[in-house]
Symmetry: C2
Subunit: 191 residues, 2 copies
DNA sequence: TATCCTTCTTAACTTAAGTCAATGCTCCAT
DNA sequence: ATGGAGCATTGACTTAAGTTAAGAAGGATA
């Protein structure tokens, strides 16, 4: 499991193998059963973040009508970064729930900051990763906005085909910004 | 003009005033006339990024049909971060053009990295800002996806009313993921 | 096995957005 | 001032997605 993390450190830093090991040994890997909530909407602001080693985590919120709106699915090798601790007065805007049995790296912000102090390269790596995430998010956003629900479905088929099998369709529909009925019809339409 | 930058440094770092001054004196502030292109789609990958002190910069790309799709408007105190240098083989996906006369901080990646080496706190600040940007982007995305064109228009009226006056409507429409005709009708519908 | 609950599909209807086309408006340049 | 280009509005029509409601399929549980 920890090889995945080693891969990251090796790729983005020039830390020695010993240092890499030291860092990884400090990390906490936890297992979570399907259905577990990592955070619930309304909880006091999280100081935690996660990295998915195995499984699938769904992020959602309840809209004004009380309906679940799925805003993300996190799967293998994706980081779950909810930065609502930046507005410390606000409670969590989202819920995080395990769609499957999961293995996650669990980190809290304080120890993260400590680590940055100890290994400045680690912070460089994080900065660089954040830039990548942001770039990706911007690109996806730009494409998505301009797409019809049908085009969005085709995109997900292209980019994250695994989700189609791992995730209930009505949740996928809401993630794609459409109704379950629409998704059903689109699937039929394009066979 | 430089006070804005000082504000950032003071807010997010504990650098001494002298250090802050030194950093800011290293920055290049350039003026650009309305209509100037900062980058053109297809250019070789940029090593530059910008920070808007004054004016409005539009980011757009040409879709498969050759139509302009506006993916962002950057105004005062917003950073323009195009991280396509992460995929060094690819050319720029976007064009950046000045909608108005602009004053921008122009930075290039190499000198940025050098500065990080010199002032590690500066990299901390950047990491933290990136996390904020990302969080913001994710939140906006989640809201947007689930909204109708009409709801999106209302959101922009709420959040960035200045854009309504600064920007041609057909560009705004494409930024909101709708046709100019739709935007015109929506405006009429809700007076 | 029978029952219940959730999910998915299908249908009929409504509506808002896309498309195409024509008309006006504004600003700019000559 | 005039003409032209680009932009905004409006209308008629088409279409895809939302809404509501009903039924079918699949899984879990007793």
């Amino acid at each position: 499991m920890k090889e995945i993390l080693m891969k990251y450190l090796a790729k983005y830093t020039t830390l020695t193998e010993a240092e890499q090991q030291a860092i990884i040994n400090d990390l906490i890997i936890e297992g979570f059963k399907k259905g577990t909530y990592l955070i619930k909407q309304g909880d006091s602001p999280t100081k935690k973040c996660f990295f998915v080693l195995k499984g699938c985590v769904r992020q959602y919120y309840l809209d004004d009508d009380g309906k679940e709106v799925t805003s993300n699915f996190y799967t293998e090798e994706q980081a779950i970064l909810l930065f609502n601790y930046e507005e410390p007065d606000q409670s969590s805007n989202y819920s995080l729930t395990c769609q499957e049995d999961c293995a996650l790296v669990v980190a809290d912000v304080e120890s993260e900051l400590k680590m940055y102090k100890q290994y400045t390269e680690l912070e460089s790596m994080t900065r660089s990763m954040m830039e990548n995430y942001l770039a990706q998010a911007q690109n996806e956003y730009a494409k998505f906005i301009r797409s019809s629900p049908e085009a969005r479905y085709k995109m997900i088929v292209q980019n994250r085909p695994d989700l189609l099998k791992r995730v209930p369709q009505h949740q996928l529909a809401s993630y794609l910004g459409m109704t379950p009925e629409s998704l059903s019809r689109i699937k039929k339409r394009i066979q």
